[in-house]
């Protein structure tokens, strides 16, 4: 087998060194009662070429761009990724390295992550960012846990316009703890109704998502103010960070923690994972941050270099007292995002964000003039909610055969939003594809 280098001779001489007869003897310390009664019942090994066929066949059953025209967003976005990024990310020095615990052998990863932390902080308008968490959902859960750690209060407030899956994950992370979780309703314009928040007691953290699940831009500054007025920390979550290439970032609007999903910046969609948990805050909270941090330092000769730092927050030092249990994170995805941001640059980010916005506005307008209702009036970035006539489900099914995927049905998450669909338009959708969609929907 090409992955197993041992020849029979190798094995024989090594067994002799170890002083045993056979490979089986290696397991003398495994009691008989602990052993399998049957050999591994797995398919016979495939050659590389059989594997290619098997996997291509599976992949071929999945509806993917460019064959399909996909208007799905809802936390996972189709954006162009330059081949240069794919190539750089494939270099085995990055792919096959472990966590950079030995700085002298990991300067590549360490500088790249330090750069990632910096670019993310700049994008989100915060002072510092960590080296990544698993995904946007767990990042939000970690953020809210952090507000509880810092404030020692009991209540968690989260907007009902936050991605439903993120809210589910938050509930799961908190399920075994005593914290109370309060959900805020959303207004007719698609933004969060903050009224309940006024004067609320014992609130550790308040979380809004902007753009929110409906694609609407929230009144973040106002929410931050109210949160602070009740002594809570304010968290801005996001699933589409590209929006900050156009709209105000969380930091400038008063967020204490900004966290969310980084997939949209250079990471393949991959059926939802791996994504990238972006997590940023301010220096004053640095010792409460979950996850790894890379810091600037020098070597004994005074040369600039980078190291993992403030590890006393982490599980391998602090164990049960750690700020989080996270160990393996999303480094390679963080590298992808750093490479992507570096390729895009300030200029490119601005243009790309505008393109997403303008195309989305184009489709909204087209739907409006076709007589459909854009459900929420608040400004959006590259996602929005349309209300279709009852029975659109069947048309939606029908469009699948035409290889058009016309958005996500919201009733699944919000029963009251019957006939409402969430659609996404990025730079990958053409005017032609949008016109076609509107034509099809009209017919």
């Amino acid at each position: 087998m090409r992955y197993l280098p041992h020849t029979e001779e190798d094995i024989a001489s090594m067994l002799e060194t170890v002083g045993i007869e056979s490979l089986e003897d290696l397991y003398s310390t495994v009691p008989a009662a602990c052993r399998r009664s049957t050999p591994l019942n797995l398919p016979e090994p495939l050659s590389e070429w059989e594997l290619d066929n098997r996997m291509s066949a599976l992949a071929a059953t999945i509806a993917a761009s460019p064959e399909y025209t996909v208007f799905l967003g809802a936390g996972n976005y189709e954006h162009f990724i330059p081949e240069s990024v794919r190539y750089l990310l494939s270099r085995s020095e990055f792919v096959t390295a472990y966590t950079p615990y030995q700085p002298e052998l990991s300067q590549g990863t360490l500088q790249a992550i330090y750069e990632y932390q910096t670019l993310v902080s700049r994008l989100l308008g915060m002072e510092i960012a960590n080296a990544s968490l698993y995904d946007g959902a767990s990042a939000l859960a970690e953020a809210l846990l952090m507000t509880a750690r810092i404030t020692h209060k009991e209540k968690i407030v989260i907007s009902g316009a936050v991605h439903p899956a993120y809210r589910q994950v938050v509930r799961t992370y908190f399920s075994s703890t005593g914290y109370e979780i309060v959900e805020l309703p959303y207004l007719e314009d698609g933004r969060t109704d903050l009224s309940a928040l006024h004067g609320m007691q014992d609130v550790a953290g308040v979380a809004l998502q902007s753009p929110n699940f409906f694609g609407c831009i929230e009144g973040v500054s106002q929410a931050a103010e109210i949160s602070h007025s009740v002594g809570a920390l304010f968290v801005t979550a996001f699933s589409e960070p590209l929006a900050y290439g156009l709209y105000k970032n969380p930091g400038i609007q008063g967020a204490d923690i900004a966290c969310g999903e980084g997939q949209s910046m250079g990471i393949p969609q991959s059926f939802g994972g791996p994504g990238l948990g972006m997590f940023a805050t301010f220096m004053k909270h640095v010792r409460s941050i979950p996850g790894r941090l890379v810091g600037l330092s020098r070597d004994v000769t005074g040369k600039r270099g980078f190291v993992l730092t403030l590890a006393t927050r982490e599980q391998h030092i602090r164990r049960e007292k750690a700020t989080s249990n996270i160990c393996t994170n999303g480094s390679l995805c963080a590298l992808a995002t750093a490479m992507y941001m570096a390729s895009l640059g300030r200029t490119g980010l601005g243009e790309l964000a505008r393109l997403n916005f303008d195309k989305t506005e184009y489709l909204k307008a087209a739907f409006r003039s076709a007589g459909f209702r854009i459900r929420f009036s608040s400004p959006t970035f590259n996602e929005f909610v349309v209300e279709f006539p009852p029975g659109f489900d069947t048309l939606h099914e029908h469009l699948l055969e035409k290889k058009i995927i016309a958005g996500t049905r919201l009733a699944r998450y919000y029963p009251e939003l019957e006939n409402c669909w969430l659609l996404c338009v990025t730079e990958t959708r053409t005017r032609e594809q949008m016109d076609r969609l509107v034509r099809e929907v009209q017919s």
Binding site: M14, G108, E115, P274, T328, G345, T428
Partner: protein, 484 residues
């Protein structure tokens, strides 16, 4: 040092991204604009973040140069204990990159994502077979999240039986994520010592096990590379008092096709696909930490779960007792594709892989035990743990030994873990390394032991060949500078 790979050569300094570039430079093309400009609400529009503008070549050179400052499995032996740094087959990367997988949206209708659902379903079955457990969830994004999932299941299990238990038994050899995960779930970890043989004794467990204890977290093989021989008695003790047994299966690479978790009385076990199943560590992630459970705990697994009915795979949330979701979608699918490819390529040979991993570890143990102190001189599993005791009189510590290994062209083993042995040197060669490589590594370790006697300064000044010399980690922590 000629028989050793370590050498020095020309590489390149490279400034920080924002120390490069010039305004207006482009590193990526945008699609042509085919719609008019729309009017965003000026009140909401913000400043553009200060990202550097670089050309495509600027970016390519930057990361190509950075990559050369790294050490990966493809560069050399990486015997990092507890991390299973085995070879990451290139074809697995190719499979994960197939358009159908890489460009799949997670909210596709089931009918249009059958291949992805089948892959998840099959992989669950494979992992169940390998562990001898009944049901599997692939949702956890890494081992630690698998542990959290396990803890939440234990919590939900007891809750469902209206018992509220507050403690979890955690041996002193456990990985840091174990107590951290227990604590994150609100449990209070009860620390227990392993016996002088390096493994748990039923007695100590019996002493702490009572109705306030929700369960135990055992790592088997444990982090000393030893098989927990009394696991069955221990499970019985825990079960008797109504507790559950959680197994940290990060070290599964030692016992695939050998041990049976069910027989060992394990109720829940997580696996690290980025260890045992050859998915790359990617400089720290992403990984995947599936959780395997016995029938009695299946109702508590995270949703959505995958069902196969009338020839169709579909996602289902209808599991009222489920602990809920740990990931926005279905976990790290891209990683699952690689593990699936690996298992399809290995099949029943996975057992052989385990045997050879264990052979390699015992081979190193035998060849080094008269040079380095071996705290537990017993047959080991996939890794063996030495200490720096022999080197104390020369005032040489594990850290120096590790740094010196770099000059010889090897990545150091895991050091100072597990905490129960002071100055631990934890070596896990994995099955991927050939006898020649092991011999060269052993030679390097012996040479270093000799240097420790004759030229200790060589160790104190190490590494000398790396781009940066010994880094100052304390200064970094004293005045943290985390962004530029």
């Amino acid at each position: 040092m000629n028989q050793f790979p370590g050498a020095s050569g020309l590489i390149f300094d490279e400034p920080l991204l924002w120390e490069k570039g010039a305004n207006g430079r482009r590193g990526m093309s945008l699609p042509p604009r085919d719609v008019d400009f729309a009017l965003p609400d000026e009140a909401l529009v913000g400043e553009l973040p200060d990202l550097p503008d670089l050309s495509e070549m600027d970016v390519v050179r930057h990361y190509t140069r950075l990559s050369q400052w790294n050490f990966g499995v493809d560069q050399g032996m990486y015997p990092l204990g507890s991390c299973t740094m085995k070879y990451n087959p290139k074809t697995n990367e190719k499979q994960a990159g197939l358009q159908g997988f890489a460009a799949a949206h997670p909210l596709l209708p089931d009918s249009l994502s059958q291949g992805a659902l089948k892959l998840i379903h099959d992989l669950e079955r494979f992992l169940a077979e390998i562990t001898c457990m009944d049901a599997v969830s692939l949702q956890p994004a890494a081992g630690a999240q698998g542990e959290l999932t396990g803890m939440l299941i234990i919590y939900a299990y007891h809750k469902s039986r209206n018992s509220k238990r507050t403690k979890i038994i955690v041996p002193d050899t456990a990985h840091g994520t174990n107590p951290a995960s227990a604590a994150l779930c609100g449990f209070q970890p009860v620390n227990v010592k392993s016996g002088e043989k390096g493994i748990l004794t039923p007695e100590v467990i019996a002493r702490v096990m009572d109705e306030s204890v929700a369960g135990i977290m055992v790592t088997n093989p444990n982090t000393l590379g030893l098989f927990e021989e009394h696991i069955i008695e221990i499970s019985e003790i825990v079960h008797e008092k109504g507790g559950l047994v959680y197994c940290d299966g990060a070290n599964m690479n030692a016992i695939m096709g050998i041990a049976d978790s069910a027989k060992m009385g394990i109720d829940i076990q997580h696996l690290n696909l980025h260890k045992t199943f050859s998915t790359p560590h990617g400089s720290g992630g992403p990984g995947s930490g599936p959780v395997c459970v016995g029938k009695h705990l299946e109702p508590f697994l995270p949703v959505p779960r995958i069902l196969f009915e009338e020839g169709l795979y579909r996602l289902s949330e209808e599991f009222p007792q489920s602990i809920g979701k740990l990931h926005a979608f279905y976990g790290n699918f891209g990683v699952l594709v690689k593990a699936y490819s690996y298992i399809l390529s290995m099949g029943p040979l996975l057992q052989r892989a385990s045997q050879l991993a264990v052979l390699n570890a015992n081979y190193i143990k035998e060849l080094l035990k008269d040079v380095f102190h071996l705290p537990y001189d017993r047959p080991c599993m996939h890794e063996c743990v030495f200490t720096d005791k022999e080197q104390h009189e020369q005032k040489i510590s594990t850290l120096e030994i590790a740094k010196r290994l770099m000059d010889y062209g090897f990545h150091p083993p895991t050091i100072y873990f597990p905490l129960v042995v002071s100055g631990a040197i934890m070596i896990e060669p994995t099955e991927s390394e050939s006898k020649e490589t092991l011999d060269s590594f052993v030679q390097a370790m012996k040479t270093i032991a000799q240097e420790a006697k004759d030229h200790p300064e060589l160790l104190r000044e190490a590494p000398t060949k790396t781009k940066v010399k010994r880094m100052d980690e304390t200064a970094a922590a004293r005045h943290p500078c985390l962004t530029g």
